[in-house]
Amino acid sequence: MLGIKLPHWRAILWGALVAILGVVLLGTVFVFSGLYNVAASARHFDISNALIRLTLRRSVEMRSLSVTPPGDLSDTRLARLGARHFALGCAPCHASPVSAQSPVAAGMYPAPPLLTEAVETWRTEELFWIVRHGLKFTGMPSWPAEERGDEVWALVAFLERLPGMSERDYAALAGTELAPGAADFTFAPTADTDRLVAACENCHGNAESAPVHPLAPPLDGQKQPYLERSLREYAANRRQSGIMEAAAGELAPEAIGELARVFAEREAPVTVKPGERDTGSMERGAAIALDGVRGDDIPACRSCHSVSTSGQFPRLGGLPAEYIMTQLELFRAGVRADSVYAAIMAPIAARLSDEQIRDVAAYFAAAPERGEEAAAR
């Protein structure tokens, strides 16, 4: 039985070998000859085009299978945060209800799709995957901080609402009504301080208006050295945020100092109203913040964040709980670990459980230790 089959197999093997060598040879000739035209103006054959599109669509469909959307995508605050980044970073190429595609972008091949229409052809999970990872060979970049899925969801929350959005609704979400012109390339080095402050406030809020979303923390009253360092770290890609890296990267060094001073001089707000407090969680959080947890090797937060006179440890009291939790989770996961200060916080955050993170955040959000901090100053 085998005696008959063996030459048969050998023939197939030889045939395959010859075929493979032939293909390799032809390919080599083609590549080295320079016959292929890489011009953006030279369009693909229809069949190549169809194949590329199919590959792209299948790839996105398959790879987005493991994506699970968070529960609160319908949250307008999230969409608002996404809209503000969209206006800044995406609209020039993809157009928006109030602006057309830039002619430069239109010259790309493939041309960036007009999102006001194209969004509908993708599922939520797929949109998330594309925004996060970008698309090879298309000019679509990946999210500058790929680990920050939480930020990507903000953008997706906005994109979900984009199809058929009126100019008015868009202006409301993107904040162009509030501060006219703030949503252009506002952080350009030439911009004056007031415009820059307005641009920051567009997301982070001020004494009159709350931040658009807890992920954009209120800046008023934060310590100046910390704010300066944060902006520099964003600009240098040492702290991860797709939104802030884009913004901080545009700022001139003097502007960073100015902005930090302006916000540091303001009075810190109180964001959590007494009625919204979870006292049980706060009490547990207080124990961690004030005394630490010995068995888990967690030091007391207050030592650095309240009683220390150093301006490098951020003031936590009054920051939104969601923001504190997100940052602790980023520290814990080792995403935020690149700066010398993050190197201190990351190993400590790694010892916190989910529940401890929740409790600590609840405690600081209610800002009960203002007095102690003032005394230390």
Partner: protein, 355 residues
Amino acid sequence: MRPGTMQSVAMRPWRLVGGGLPAACCLRWSCAALFSSLLAAGCSGPQSALSPSGVEALHIDPLFWTATWTGVLVTLMIVVLVAVALYGPPPWRAWLGRDWIVIGGGIVLPILVLTGLFVYALLVMQAGALRSAQAGEDTITVTVTGKRWWWEVTYATPQGEPIVSANEIRLPVGRPVRLLLESDNVIHSFWAPQIAGKLDMIPGRTNEVVLEATEPGVSRGQCAEYCGGPHALMSFFVIAMPEEDYAAWLAREAEPGAEPDTPQAAHGQEVFFENGCGACHRIGGTPAQGVIGPDLTHVGSRHSLAAATLPNDAEAFARWITDNQHIKPDNLMPPFRQLSAPDLAALAAYLDGLE
């Protein structure tokens, strides 16, 4: 072997077991003879079980040597028998090649030899048990807790206020000290070879061992149970001191941390608080009351830093603060690389001055 050990050992009145055997003394000298060719350093060394200076270690020593020499004899006997079996004259070989040699050499001889060694070992064990049981009221109690990866040492005092130290055990010579061994994380094992055998520190249990140093001196110990990460860098020193010195040391240890005595040290103290060091470390008499890392109240007077990993000087403090993750990878202290050179020097000077 340290010269003079033999005589001092023979004079020990607590040597219930085997101590008076002249054979044991000969064995000890033979040790030097046997290994000196191989071992320039001899049997001594700060962490050597072969130069005992504690009661338990001294009890184990002659048992060890008895077993060793029995083993050497057995091995020699086997070698000789094999040589005879291979190359001996035929009558000798005929004599060897029978069943009885298997019964005699394989059953009777081992049972006799093993019974002897076994009973000797039981007597040593019983002596150890009695020593633990008889450690009376004047016994000092010290709790040693295995941390990742250092040792917290708590001395009970008559005043009731415990004294907390780290990474070294002080023993008054000639007085039994009861060690309570605990762990709140993984399993460690406490081993000070010159003083006594090892005993594990197991979460959920308290193990007890009574140590008694027989002569003053500094020896070294190390964690003997693999505890992950830098297990290799979890050591300590045992400092046996005359009773009066010990009392003086204990009294000094009970005092609060020294005030900085130079402007640089004073600045160092500021740096200490500004950077939140007190969250993990305690310095008696200051607001720093952290209990996560070692107590630093008298850190400057200790024998080593970082669980016997670094010498105790200002330079080592500075290295440790900024570079501890390279010196001792995965240890639980974060690196503080943000400090400027003057700040760092000041902090190191302050800590070094905490004597």
